[in-house]
């Protein structure tokens, strides 16, 4: 699993790539959280290059969004392909975390 982090005008942007399965979550979760939560600023996650997600990946995203919420900072995701989106919707993640199509939409959501 690949991860990159940048700052887009006061918003943390994380780009994930590869499979977000139980093995890779174990490898990347600590770094993912550490690059987002302590900054206490809004964050968006680019899922365009994520090919697979399972429950531990969903749990990582919920945990990170919840921790960020304690700083009153918003969290959104964008660019999920059909396979990833089906799993996100099946777990009702869209009820609690905005999942939109584009980076611009995600940035608008977290800075509104």
């Amino acid at each position: 699993m690949d991860m990159q982090f940048t700052d887009v005008g006061g918003v943390t942007k994380a780009v994930l790539g590869g499979r977000l399965d139980s093995f890779s979550v174990g490898e990347v979760e600590t770094r993912f959280v550490a690059n987002i939560v302590p900054k206490e600023q809004p964050a968006v996650v680019d899922l365009s290059d994520v090919s697979f997600i399972a429950s531990l990946g969903i749990r990582m995203l919920i945990g990170t969004a919840r921790a960020l919420q304690r700083s009153n900072a918003r969290f959104a995701m964008f660019g999920a392909n059909d396979a990833v989106m089906e799993i996100i919707e099946t777990t009702s993640l869209t009820e609690i975390i905005p999942v939109v199509g584009t980076e611009a939409e995600a940035l608008a959501v977290v800075t509104a």
């Binding site: 093995f23 429950s55 749990r59 919920i62 945990g63 919840r66 089906e86 009702s92």
Partner: protein, 148 residues
């Protein structure tokens, strides 16, 4: 790991005999996808198969007790995929765990129990059986996923 394939009536077309080790999650995924792909299983269904298999085996590895051997079986009849995951551990029914309560906020959202909920929602049938007796007793989880 060498798949044991058989075409005999009543026998699953793909059988994998695996040790209890985290690497078997990926090994079994590659083998099952390699078996189903040439049979015309669509990408959307294949993703469901991969998720269900991942959830069942990772759940077993994390929560099973005294598991030394895992068997994965896969079969496809042109309409649906049957997956069976068996283990030789102590009696453990992963499907007995209820789905997480519905949630509408991050604070309410569960951090656990999502995997088995996914198995239920992505399959058209899922059941647990304790099969065999004594030292040969095994946990068996059988699921069916419709190809669409």
């Amino acid at each position: 790991m060498k798949p044991d394939r058989t075409e005999a009536d009543g026998e699953p077309a793909l059988v994998l005999n695996l040790p209890n080790h985290p690497t078997v999650i990926e090994e079994s995924r590659v083998a099952v996808v390699g078996f189903l792909e040439p049979l015309g299983v669509g990408a959307r269904t294949m993703n469901r198969v991969e998720v269900v298999l991942e959830e069942l085996i990772s759940n077993l590895i994390r929560h099973g007790h005294e598991v030394s051997a895992i068997t994965v079986e896969a079969d496809y009849d042109g309409e649906s995929i049957d997956l069976v995951v068996e283990d030789d551990g102590l009696e453990f029914d992963p499907l007995a765990k209820p789905d997480p309560d519905p949630f509408t906020s991050l604070a309410e959202a569960p951090l656990g129990g999502l995997g088995i909920a996914l198995v239920r929602r992505l399959t058209c049938a899922a059941r647990y059986d304790r099969v065999g007796a004594g030292a040969a007793a095994r946990n068996r989880v059988s699921v069916t996923i419709t190809n669409r």
